[in-house]
């Protein structure tokens, strides 16, 4: 069989082995790259790979494979695919699958399984992975026969991408991979997708929403990840502009509305700027678009935006009234709902409310660290600010989890959708590097940056060799504060500065990169930041910068978990050690 045949037998039923069927089905679903790691129970699949026009990225840990598939999907909107062997290979995927689940990312994971006659016997490397992943997948399949493989994989793609997207796992026993059967791609097509029966966009709801919008004095649009998942960027912009309504975004909503747009307030929630959260608390109408009122966004439910009527446009009926009771629920695909709603919306003057919000910004910008004169100290905010300035806000940035992630969200102003790749729901440390690799594989001509803390970077640093083996150009910014910074910050604020188990010794990241054949520099002063970023961009190959930033800097403002949005810890004034220009 030649590579050409693989396309022919998508139209002509052919006898193939289960392993070949797996690849042929992926080809039929439009897959060009997969991320994986071989092992005994998936060997027939690896043996068949050479016959198919699919590029396999060999990862260093299966968690990396799942994160890469995830980053691939977040950056491109396509389905990312991860492959692993049974047992430990499969369990190593779990964190990555859960990460995709909590952020509604469509990925398909394929695992090898012991032969069907050994199922349930505690055979070597047997793990009940469909059982293990049941609560962290949208759905999963166990295939024990070759005939089941193509329908299961095709269904997996449909499930992963439909409604509220999410991860799907297909577990294939070794004997099913080895057996052969007639492969009929067309016949394996799943039945047409049935939308969730509780989707409901009624005339009365649309009319009521339109009425609320037209009469609101202090409306705020809350834009979430659904804006991108549904491709509703244009409609969102029309709604905001026509009604002159400010837009607050969630962490995962960043990029769904251009940062430079005058109506963009910025990120809401725990580390949102004060004026954003105040606007929400003062609002008389919230128009929630593809967001789920996560606890990191609302603080305490009972104190959240109590003066506001709430319109919730959301594709998942299970999210309606879950955390926040809403007045009008339009349950459906965001862009479709907005298409129905927009014709009912006429121009509206929002200038008074916008002025009030603007005034509430007050002197915040003056206190902002990035605007303070150079004190000789290097703050993470400087790093991100320069990175944003130099890349024009157009790079894809994959962050890890922690303080640097919040600073990225605050100081890197994303203009384009799908350019911030970050684990929001699960908050998975170790996500950045593999997710960036996935993003780069999906968007070869895009500039891709990793922004990671010294802690999280070490969780998946082994993927540096994946970059080298794949010969891809990724730039890595380590925001190195010598601490598990975000946890240290909580200890500072809420545990009397008892820095238990948060100071962290790290290897010399420049030497580590060097050992991989990756060019790297360390940066210790603000003056060096821009040059290092420019050097990295110019260098023809991966580049790592170890930014040695202030050790005990904190992310402001901060709403302590379980507090109301207006009860935030503000940036300290000039006297406070960490943020003073003079210290």
């Amino acid at each position: 069989m030649t590579k050409k045949d693989t396309h022919e037998h998508l139209t002509t039923p052919t006898r193939l082995t289960g392993a070949e069927i797996m690849w042929a089905t992926l080809v039929g679903e439009g897959v060009t790259d997969v991320f994986g790691y071989p092992g005994g129970a998936i060997l027939p699949v690896y043996d068949a790979l050479r016959k198919f026009p699919i590029h396999h990225v060999l990862v260093r840990h299966e968690q990396g494979a799942a994160h890469m598939a995830d980053g691939y999907s977040r950056a491109s909107g396509k389905v990312g695919v991860a492959v692993a062997t049974s047992g430990p290979g499969a369990t190593n995927l779990v964190t990555g699958i859960a990460t995709a689940m909590l952020d509604s990312i469509p990925i398909v994971c394929i695992t090898g399984q012991v032969s069907s006659k050994l199922l349930g016997t505690d055979a070597f490397q047997e793990v009940d992975i469909t059982g293990v992943t049941l609560p962290v997948t949208k759905h999963n399949f166990l295939c024990t026969k070759a005939e089941e493989i193509a329908p299961a994989i095709r269904a997996a793609f449909q499930i992963a991408t439909s409604g509220r997207p999410g991860p799907v796992l297909v577990d294939i026993t070794k004997d099913a991979q080895q057996a052969s059967t007639l492969f009929d791609f067309e016949a394996a097509k799943p039945a047409p997708y049935l939308p969730h029966p509780m989707l409901r966009v009624e005339e009365s709801g649309l009319a009521e929403a339109a009425e609320l919008i037209l009469n609101a004095k202090r409306p705020v649009i809350l834009a979430g990840h659904g804006v991108m998942e549904s491709g509703a960027m244009e409609q969102l912009r029309t709604l905001a502009e026509r009604t002159e309504t400010p837009v607050a975004v969630t962490l995962l909503g960043i990029g769904g509305f251009p940062a430079s747009h005058p109506l963009n307030l910025g990120m809401m929630g725990m580390h949102g700027e004060a004026w954003v959260n105040s606007a929400i608390q003062e609002a008389d109408l919230l128009i929630a678009c593809g967001m789920r009122f996560d606890d990191r966004v609302i603080g305490t439910p009972s104190t959240y935006a109590v003066k506001a009527k709430k319109i919730h446009i959301e594709v998942d009926p299970a999210e309606i009234n879950k955390n926040i009771k809403v007045d009008v629920a339009l349950v459906g695909d965001l862009s479709e709902v907005l298409d129905q709603l927009l014709p009912r919306i006429t121009k509206r003057d929002g200038s008074a409310w916008l002025k009030t919000i603007d005034a509430s910004k007050g002197a915040i910008a003056v206190r902002d660290i990035k605007n303070l004169p150079d004190s000789g100290h290097l703050y993470a905010a400087h790093v991100i600010h320069d990175l944003w300035r130099i890349t024009g806000g157009n790079a894809i940035v994959a962050t890890d989890v922690g303080q640097h992630q919040m600073w990225e969200a605050q100081y890197y102003h994303h203009e384009q959708p799908r350019t911030l790749i970050t684990s929001g729901g699960l908050g998975t440390m170790g996500f950045a590097l593999p997710a960036a690799i996935g993003a780069k594989m999906a968007c070869r001509d895009k500039e891709v940056w990793v922004v990671a803390g010294d802690g999280g970077f070490q969780m998946t640093a082994a993927e540096l060799s994946t970059i080298v083996q794949e010969k891809i150009k990724i730039n890595i910014a380590i925001v190195n504060n010598g601490f598990l910074g975000m946890v240290r910050q909580w200890q500072e604020f809420f545990y009397e500065r008892n820095y238990e188990s948060t100071p962290m010794v790290s290897p010399d990241f420049v030497k580590l990169a060097d050992a991989h054949g990756i060019r790297a520099v360390a940066v210790t002063t603000r003056a060096e930041v821009a040059k290092a970023v420019e050097d990295a961009r110019k260098h023809d190959g991966p580049f790592l910068i170890n930014f040695m930033v202030e050790k005990e800097d904190s992310v402001y403002p901060m709403i302590p978990a379980g507090s109301a949005l207006h009860e935030m810890i503000r940036r300290p004034g000039q006297s406070a050690l960490v943020e003073s220009a003079e210290d």
Binding site: L142, A191, H196, P197, M198, D316, K322
Partner: protein
Amino acid sequence: MLHTFVVYVEDRPGVLTRVASLFRRLNINIHSVTVGSSERVGLSRITLVCEASAEAGHRILASLYKLENVVEVDDVAKAPAVTRELALIKVRVTPVTRSRIFELAEVFRARIVDLAPESLMIEITGVESKIEGLIEVLNEEENCVTEICRSGKMTMRRGQHTSSVEHAMRVGLANQPQAS
């Protein structure tokens, strides 16, 4: 409040786990669950009873529908419906108590389905309170109950056929993959 969910699911391995897992994840205790074949080939019917807030009902319903193998869900709640349970009760008997237990069974319209020298088995169907009434009386009067097996509740709405399964079957299940 007490919720009674009637759920039509595909009759495949692992489906009950998916349904049960949803309640476990929401930390909701399942009072009773019965599963068996339904009027449609390939579909099982579950009656699941649990205690949860009124708002939780909506979320459970929506979440059940998110399960791939779930075809139809109905939260019967307080709608007019017939609910029945079946119980098998084994009691210890002596020649002296036997006739009294026969009498009690008769009062409750229960049947004796097994007779042994020192024990007998009673079969009773009905609403929960009726079954519990019999058990209580048996325990109070003779303190003779040695084993109880209850089916859990089965519920069906009164009146015209309300299931939309037939429709869902036509559209949805034409071509589903064999694997679960």
